[in-house]
C-alpha cells in the first residue's frame, strides 16, 4: 500500500492557516466589493435635487423615515429602559428572570415580516389605527425592543456598585438611587443603544409594508400620525421591483442614501460609545 506521505505537523499548520486567511477574505471581500460598486454607481446619482425634490426626489421618504424612527424610539424607550432597570436593579437571579431573558431572545428572533402581520392584526385592524405612521411605529417599537432592553441593561450594569452602596448608605431608597445615581450615569450608554435601535428601524421594510408605508404622489407628507407615509427602504423596494420608468441611476442613488443613513447611525453610536469609554474611568 502506498500511503500518501504524512504531512509534517508544521506543514499542515501552514496549510490550515493559509486556508483560514482565505476564508476570512471570502467572508468580507465579496460584500465590500459589491458595496463599492454600489457606492460608485449610486454616488454619481446623488445631488441636491435628488435629496430635496418632493416629486422626483427623496424628501418625502427622508421625512417619513425620520418621523417613523423618532416615533418608534419614543414608544420603545420607556418600556425598554424600564425593563432594563428591572433586570439590572430590581431582579434577583430566579426562574422568572430566566424566562424574561428567554422571551427577549425570542423577540429578537421573530422574523420581521411576522412583526408586520402582528402589527396589522393588532394596530391596523383591532385598534383601528388604519395603515398609518403610528401603526408602523408601534410595530417597529416591538421589533427594536429587545435591542433597547439589552443595550440599556448593559449600560446600567456598567455603573459601579459602590455608587449604589454610597447612595443607600445615605438613606436613599432603591428608586431614589436608580433615579438620581444610576440612570444619570448610565444615560450616555442608553442613548448609544437608542441610536443603534433607530438605525435598525430605519432600515426595516417588511414590518411597515402593510402597516403604514404607502406611496402617494398627491400627498407626499403625513399630516398626522394617522396618515400613511413613505420610508426610504420601502421606496427603494418599490422603485426596484414595481415602479416603471425609474432610471437605473436613481435606484442606485436611493440604495446609497439608505446605506449611508443606516451605517452612519451605527458609526455614530460606535464613536459615541468609544468617546464615552475614554471619558469615564471608574
Amino acid at each position: 500500500m502506498t500511503a500518501l506521505p504524512q504531512l509534517s505537523r508544521k506543514t499542515s499548520q501552514a496549510i490550515a492557516f493559509a486556508i483560514l486567511w482565505i476564508v476570512a477574505a471570502a467572508v468580507i471581500l465579496p460584500v465590500v466589493a459589491i458595496l463599492a460598486v454600489m457606492l460608485l454607481k449610486g454616488g454619481r446619482a446623488i445631488d441636491w435635487h435628488m435629496l430635496t425634490s418632493i416629486d422626483e426626489g427623496l424628501l418625502p421618504a427622508i421625512a417619513g423615515t425620520t418621523l417613523l424612527v423618532v416615533l418608534t424610539a419614543a414608544i420603545s424607550a420607556p418600556v425598554g429602559v424600564a425593563a432594563a432597570i428591572y433586570l439590572s436593579e430590581y431582579a434577583r437571579a430566579s426562574t422568572s428572570v430566566r424566562l424574561i431573558r428567554l422571551a427577549i431572545v425570542n423577540l429578537a428572533g421573530v422574523p420581521s415580516v411576522v412583526y408586520g402581520l402582528f402589527g396589522f392584526a393588532l394596530f391596523v385592524t383591532l385598534l383601528q389605527f388604519g395603515r398609518c405612521l403610528l401603526a408602523a411605529a408601534c410595530t417597529l417599537a416591538f421589533l427594536v425592543l429587545p435591542l433597547v432592553i439589552t443595550a440599556s441593561e448593559e449600560a446600567l450594569r456598567q455603573v459601579p456598585q459602590r455608587l449604589r452602596e454610597a447612595s443607600f448608605g445615605l438613606g436613599a431608597t432603591r428608586w431614589q438611587t436608580v433615579r438620581r445615581v444610576v440612570l444619570p450615569n448610565a444615560l450616555p450608554g442608553i442613548i448609544t443603544g437608542m441610536i443603534l435601535s433607530i438605525g435598525r428601524a430605519a432600515g426595516e421594510t417588511a414590518p411597515i409594508l402593510f402597516t403604514g408605508a404607502f406611496i402617494s404622489l398627491s400627498k407626499p407628507f403625513p399630516n398626522s400620525p394617522l396618515d400613511p407615509f413613505i420610508a426610504l427602504p420601502y421606496k427603494l423596494f418599490v422603485d426596484a421591483t414595481e415602479m416603471p420608468g425609474i432610471s437605473e441611476a436613481t435606484k442606485w442613488g436611493e440604495a446609497v442614501v439608505l446605506v449611508l443613513l443606516v451605517v452612519g447611525l451605527n458609526l455614530a453610536a460606535v464613536l459615541f460609545r468609544a468617546r464615552l469609554r475614554r471619558a469615564r474611568r471608574w
Binding site: 499542515s12 499548520q13 492557516f17 476564508v23 476570512a24 471570502a26 467572508v27 468580507i28 460598486v37 454600489m38 418600556v79 424600564a82 425593563a83 432597570i85 428591572y86 430590581y90 431582579a91 422568572s96 424574561i100 431573558r101 428567554l102 422571551a103 431572545v105 425570542n106 423577540l107 429578537a108 428572533g109 421573530v110 422574523p111 415580516v113 411576522v114 408586520g116 402581520l117 402582528f118 396589522f120 392584526a121 393588532l122 385592524t125 416591538f142 425592543l145 431608597t173 432603591r174 428608586w175 438605525g199 435598525r200 432600515g203 421594510t205 417588511a206 402593510f210 427602504p233 427603494l236 423596494f237 426596484a240 435606484k251 440604495a255 439608505l258 446605506v259 443606516v262 451605517v263 451605527n266
Partner: protein, 298 residues
C-alpha cells in the same frame, strides 16, 4: 423619616418597573395569540393535511388552494443553501479572528463584520436583483437571473455576522489553561485549535448555527427580491438554479393585496404562525446551548 406619600410613590414605581420587566414575556405571548387568532379560521376551508401536503399554492384561483408544501420546501432550499455557505466560512472566520489573525487584521475584520450586520435586507435584495443575479447568470450561463441559489448566496452572507460573532465569543471563552496544556504537550497551534479549542466551544458554535438558521429562515425582503417567487416544488440539486418562493416572501408579497378576513388572509397568518413556531424553537434551543457553553467555562 419617609412620608407616607414617599413610600406610596416608591411602591408605585417599583411595581411599574416590575410590570415592565415582565413585558417581554407578555409581548411574546401577545404575538403568538394574535397570529393564532387570525390563523385558525383557515382550517374552516382547508384541513391541516391539505395545508401541509398540498402541492399547489393558488390562493386566487377558484376554489383557492392553500398547499404550503412548495413554500416550505422553498424556504428549506434557500435556508439549507445559505447554511452550506455561511457555516463553514463563518466558523472558519471566527477561528481565524480569535486564534490566528494578527492584531491589526482583527481590528479591521471585527468592525467590518459588525457593519455587515447593519446593512438593511432590502439593500441586499436590491444588489442581488440588479447586480449579483444578472452577473452570475451571464458569467455561468444560467437559465434565469433570479433563482433559489442566489437567495442562498445573499442570505449566506447576511447570516455571517451572527455566526461569526457568536462562534467567536464561544471560542474566546475556552479557558486559556486548556490551550496552554495542549501546547505544552507539544501540539502545534493548529492541532490545538482543531482538537481542543473548537470541540470545547461546541455548544456555542451550535448556538451560532441555530441563530444563523433562524436569521436565514426569517429573512424576507432579500428573498422576496432575488428568488424569482414562483411557488413550484423544487426538484433535486437543479432546484437551486430555478425560482422558488419562500414562506416569508409569500407573506410580504401577498398581504398587501389580500382582502381582510378572507381564507387567503387567514392562510397568510397560518404561514406567519409556522414561521413564529420554527424560530421560537431554534432560538430557544440556541439560548439553552449558549447558556450551557457559558456554564462549562465558568
Amino acid at each position: 423619616m419617609r412620608s407616607k406619600v414617599q413610600r406610596g410613590w416608591e411602591w408605585f414605581v417599583s411595581t411599574a418597573i416590575r410590570v415592565s420587566g415582565a413585558m417581554a414575556i407578555v409581548f411574546v405571548i401577545l404575538i403568538f395569540i394574535f397570529l393564532l387568532r387570525d390563523a385558525i379560521p383557515v382550517l374552516r376551508t382547508s384541513s391541516v393535511r391539505d395545508l401541509l401536503t398540498g402541492e399547489f399554492w393558488r390562493p386566487t384561483s377558484e376554489p383557492p388552494q392553500f398547499g404550503l408544501l412548495p413554500l416550505l420546501l422553498g424556504s428549506l432550499y434557500v435556508t439549507v443553501g445559505a447554511l452550506v455557505i455561511s457555516v463553514p466560512l463563518g466558523i472558519g472566520a471566527a477561528a481565524f479572528i480569535s486564534e490566528v489573525a494578527p492584531a491589526w487584521v482583527q481590528e479591521i475584520l471585527k468592525p467590518a463584520v459588525e457593519m455587515l450586520a447593519t446593512i438593511p435586507s432590502v439593500v441586499f435584495g436590491f444588489l442581488g436583483l440588479l447586480l449579483v443575479g444578472p452577473w452570475l447568470a451571464e458569467r455561468f450561463n444560467l437559465p434565469l437571473p433570479l433563482f433559489a441559489g442566489l437567495g442562498s448566496l445573499m442570505l449566506g452572507f447576511m447570516a455571517m455576522p451572527t455566526i461569526v460573532s457568536v462562534s467567536e465569543d464561544a471560542i474566546r471563552s475556552v479557558p486559556v489553561a486548556l490551550r496552554e496544556n495542549s501546547l505544552a504537550l507539544g501540539a502545534t497551534r493548529w492541532q490545538t485549535i482543531r482538537r481542543i479549542v473548537i470541540p470545547s466551544a461546541r455548544s456555542g458554535i451550535i448556538a451560532a448555527v441555530l441563530l444563523g438558521l433562524g436569521r436565514a429562515i426569517g429573512e424576507t425582503m432579500t428573498v422576496l427580491m432575488v428568488t424569482g417567487n414562483s411557488a413550484v416544488i423544487p426538484q433535486g440539486l437543479e432546484g437551486f438554479l430555478r425560482p422558488v418562493r419562500t414562506l416569508t416572501a409569500t407573506i410580504a408579497g401577498e398581504m398587501g393585496e389580500t382582502a381582510y378576513a378572507t381564507p387567503h388572509y387567514h392562510a397568510l397568518f397560518m404561514i406567519g404562525l409556522i414561521l413564529f413556531v420554527i424560530t421560537f424553537i431554534t432560538n430557544t434551543i440556541a439560548d439553552i446551548a449558549v447558556r450551557r457553553s457559558g456554564g462549562l467555562t465558568q
